[in-house]
Amino acid sequence: MTAQDDEQARSGTVKGQIGIAVIAEVLAGVAGKALESVIVWIACAAVGLILAAGWVRLPTRRRSPGSAAGRRLRRLGALTTWPALGAVSVLAGYHALSPISHLVRPQPCPAATELHAITARENVPALRAAAGTFVRDTLLGGCPAYRVWVNAAPSLDEMIFGFEHDWRRSPSQQGTEPFHRLNGARPHIWIPASTGEADYLIERVNRARARLGIRGSIDTEPMVLAVLGAVAADLMRELGQEVKGGGHELGELLSVARSAARLTVVYPWPGLSSAGLIAAADLSDLDPGGAWALSGAYDDSVSALLCRFLELPMPGSAGPAEPTGRARTSVALVVPRHSVSDYNQGDLGVEGCGGDWQMGRDALQEFSSPGFRSLDYPFVDVDWTGQPAPQLAAGRDAFRNWLLRHGLFGDQVAPPRSGKPAVRGSAELADALSDVKSGLHKINLHIALDGTGSMSRPPNSLRRQVRDAFPAVRQMLINEDVLHLWAFSFARERVMLTSLTSSASRNDRFNDLIQNIAGRPLVGPEVPVTSMIRKLGPGSRPFVAAVVTDGGLFDDDQAAETARRVTRALAETEPVGGVYVLVLGDGRCEPSLTSADSRAGHLLCAEAGPDTAFALRQMISTIREWS
């Protein structure tokens, strides 16, 4: 028997013991209720008998005369007995009649205890389904005792900040403006992907406004490599025999995928997704130098990665513009096993995703390896300072015990095979993140903000939108990255260049840069991109320019010539290594800037759409590839 088998057996025993405890608890509750009913019914029957027997001979004047004190006592008795009897009759009647009235018309249910759980986005559908069944299993007289809300967890960095700052989003200070933003509703339950991830966070939370406690694993599953069915056969042909216990050696699997099948292996960005971090740890074991680092996509979850994968074009088909220019058949994904199952059922739990999914054509096939570590999904209690609520703790315990008995994924996911390595520890995850970052190209980015009034116009100030979304960029940065923020405008026939923040980095002046994004609007017409590039140009170090605009700078008669003019400006302005134009709000890219030729020449225009944070992450990732 292996250590894992031992561990599973122990886990099974613990689950069994907890199950017995829960059943005993429920039985005790039921017995208590039953006893209470019996007592009330006996009382009802007794009072009913007394009343039915007619006039009761209670203390009156004609009984023994006795002393004055005795007489006063008897008078008091006479005064209190009848009101007491009246009250008892009402109580008995109330209890006796309420079951009947409940039959005639159900009484409203009392407020259920509401619990809030967070987990990685790819686990949200499974946890919501489990919560729904838990609520149904714990009904009391048809009334829900609990309601469990499940939402996506923020990134590890955001959670660390949130647990230290009353769940506020970073940066906690919004300049002088009188508002704070939360990371959503405060959670009382967190289901991370692994115990190592929970430890990683707990070790880094100082000055905690919340106390976190790991309370056992509710399910386990491995990571897998997934490719489109059409590619799987080629991969299978190139791979050798499976190892004992199933799967292929990780090194062989990845090497064949990359070299023979020419696949790009991708996983969600490790700074934003715990599954991505665990994938990075597995890959960095094979290549400590960090050559795999660029495989980290800019998606913040496995669901987002799979959703974007689904939007990639098939070879030969016209697909949406994608900065990487990849086709779906050229990508292999490192994801948790249950996500492949969700994807193959067309259910990624992401709004607006998977609408065009087709069985067969789009199905993924998984390849397992003993080199992939397990995810063990621990249940973490979150207790916020100043919220001592016994009913919350009781509800959370009940949900945890239910999950320990039923698991998170039900029968969807096969249990990990024996002999699997244990989950990644916190130190390994920290090392992996460090490895990934050390393998990235550093960027020197000049953000040219369209400072004209149209970017600040109510009701939807685009500069405020960028300011609110910009914290999502921090997790995409490494310490060596340098950012500069500029605003452009026209004044007195000249292009005016205003430095808002210079030389900010991930750990220095980043919050200042965020505050300055939504500064006072400038006046005057839009500045053409070419003028911006020429104005930014003089400088000693090569850099990439990111132009953030609402599209107004394309509103001239020569818009169709923009690409040609910008390409010429790029060639003439040596330090500028590329231009990425990000169009916000309802604005549109000038078509000539979205062509493959433009992309090859490090000139690209992208429309942000409704998710500005995603658009900014995509921008940083693309610029890093250019750098």
Binding site: L58, T60, T81, W82, P83, A84, L85, G86, A87, S89, V90, Y94, P106, Q107, P108, C109, A111, E114, H116, R128, A129, G132, V135, R136, L139, G142, C143, P144, W149, N151, E177, P178, F179, H180, R181, L182, G184, A185, R186, G352, W384, Q387, A389, Q391, T452, G453, S454, S456, P458, P459, N460, S461, R464, P521, V523, G524, D555, D586, R588, P610
Partner: protein
């Protein structure tokens, strides 16, 4: 002892005993009534030097922040907005948990009109007494959304009613049937996602057909007249959703997706709230060469559902007086005008509609003279456009009805939607078991758990 004397003596002893018995019974009955009728009292919170206001993220931009900054420059106690989330579920759960677990995190809640009854019944919010003159300032329908059991628990901050947007040149449908016919031909961006927006659309479909889902707090959907009308209405919607034009639009839209679809031209019509007007009006692609809007707006044919949000004071706030002053500031005439012109919130005051009918003002005009006036470089919603919008909104509000109120509205809404949506999106015509559906709605209304399969056989899976 004669019989007469015995009778007199019995009467003499019976009366005080009966009186005593009745007194005891009466006292206990009174106590039981108070216990059943009153919400549990929350413990008061420790003092703090500012007001905290729990709100959802602002889909209409960040103008609310500017108003709070303005209050902080003139008010006696500073206020701090806490923006919880984009998701209404998360906003509600944060507020409920703060109240349920007595975290003292908030003094003021900005609650959806659909939650006001729940918050009041559970004792999470306290009464806000209004004078007759104060009541008279508000639109009656909006004010009623803040009442529960005849008591004013919340003050309307913004109201809302659905509008019909149509691309210029499209005919104006005069009634709900004509709208479905137009939708079959030109596509209709309407919210039918499995969310509260979907419930609202489906309530509107039934209300517009003269269906009463509830009456006097009781479910009456299974009454023959309502069942017949509902069956006909849902069949009409199902047919519309199966039309070629509508299949291209899709059936999983929310408010934001609807704007994108309408803007792209894939749908000739759109049902949406007032904020969509500002979004489209600020989009240069929705204006012609002369600056005219390429769309028109009118009240939704039929009966719309009343939306909006109310301001309420947390029951355990240590500063209820200051909180009420802050609420009074946000419902001031000038502030409500600015919210309408600059941020797309629909006003709750009669005076604002009267003012816009008489002499409309743009955001630029309203904010001139403030510390940070908005830019005036071109695209702005004009006074005439705002006047037309205010007129359409006023008419839409007149025709709008509230959703069924109650402490368990969210369960009720889900039970209603799970069945109605399954029927409308079904590929084949299906018989409707109205008895079963109504039974499920009654259970949900009393807070009982209803599996979605139980509400509507063959419906979506229970989550």
């Amino acid at each position: 002892m004669t019989r007469r004397r015995r009778l007199r003596r019995t009467r003499r002893s019976f009366l005080p005993r009966a009186l005593a018995f009745a007194t005891g019974a009466g006292v206990l009955l009174g106590w039981l009534a108070i216990q059943n009728g009153s919400a549990p009292e929350l413990a008061a919170c420790a003092d703090r030097d500012h007001l905290t206001v729990a709100v959802g993220n602002d889909v209409a931009g960040g103008f609310r922040r500017d108003l709070v900054a303005e209050w902080n420059s003139i008010g006696t106690m500073k206020a701090d907005l806490v923006e919880i989330s984009d998701s209404t579920d998360e906003v509600r759960v944060e507020m409920v948990q703060a109240a349920q677990f007595q975290s003292c995190a908030y003094d003021i809640y900005l609650v959806d009109v659909a939650w006001t009854g729940e918050f009041a019944e559970r004792g999470y919010i306290s009464e806000i007494p209004l004078t007759v003159a104060e009541r008279a300032r508000f639109l009656d329908k909006a004010l009623r959304t803040g009442q529960f059991a005849g008591v004013q628990y919340a003050i309307p901050f913004a109201t809302d009613a659905p509008l019909l947007f149509r691309r210029s040149g499209m005919p104006l449908p005069e009634n709900p049937d004509a709208l479905l016919e137009a939708a079959r031909r030109h596509g209709y961006a309407v919210q039918l996602d499995d969310s509260e927006g979907g419930s609202v659309t489906l309530f509107e479909a039934l209300f517009s057909a003269g269906v009463q889902v509830t009456a006097g707090g009781e479910v009456v959907l299974d009454q023959p007249v309502n069942a017949q009308r509902a069956e006909r209405a849902l069949a009409g919607w199902q047919e519309m959703m199966r039309s070629g034009a509508q299949r291209a639009v899709g059936s999983h839209l929310r408010e934001e997706d609807s704007i994108q679809i309408f803007r792209s031209g894939a749908a000739g019509y759109m049902r949406n709230w007032a904020f969509a007007f500002h979004r489209l009006a600020m989009d240069s692609s929705m204006r012609g060469p002369g600056g005219d809007l390429l769309f028109e707006v009118s009240p939704l044919p039929g009966t719309g559902v009343l939306g909006g949000s109310n301001l309420a004071v947390a029951a355990n706030s240590p500063h209820p007086e200051e909180a009420r002053k802050f609420i009074a500031f946000l419902t001031d005439d000038e502030v409500q005008k600015k919210l309408f012109a600059c941020s797309g919130y629909t006003p709750v005051l009669k005076s604002v509609y009267a003012s816009y009918a008489r002499q409309p003002e743009t955001c630029q005009e309203l904010l001139s003279g403030t510390l940070e006036p908005p830019p005036s470089d071109g695209l702005e919603t004009t006074a005439a456009e705002l006047q037309a919008l205010a007129g359409a909104m006023h008419a839409a509000l007149e025709a709008a009805e509230p959703r069924p109120a109650g402490a368990h509205y969210s369960l009720f809404s889900r039970a209603f939607r799970s069945c109605a949506r399954a029927l409308v999106l079904s590929r084949v015509a299906r018989p409707v078991d109205f008895d079963r559906w109504a039974r499920a709605l009654r259970e949900a209304m009393s807070g009982r758990h209803v599996g979605e399969r139980d509400a509507c056989p063959g419906g979506p899976t229970d989550q």
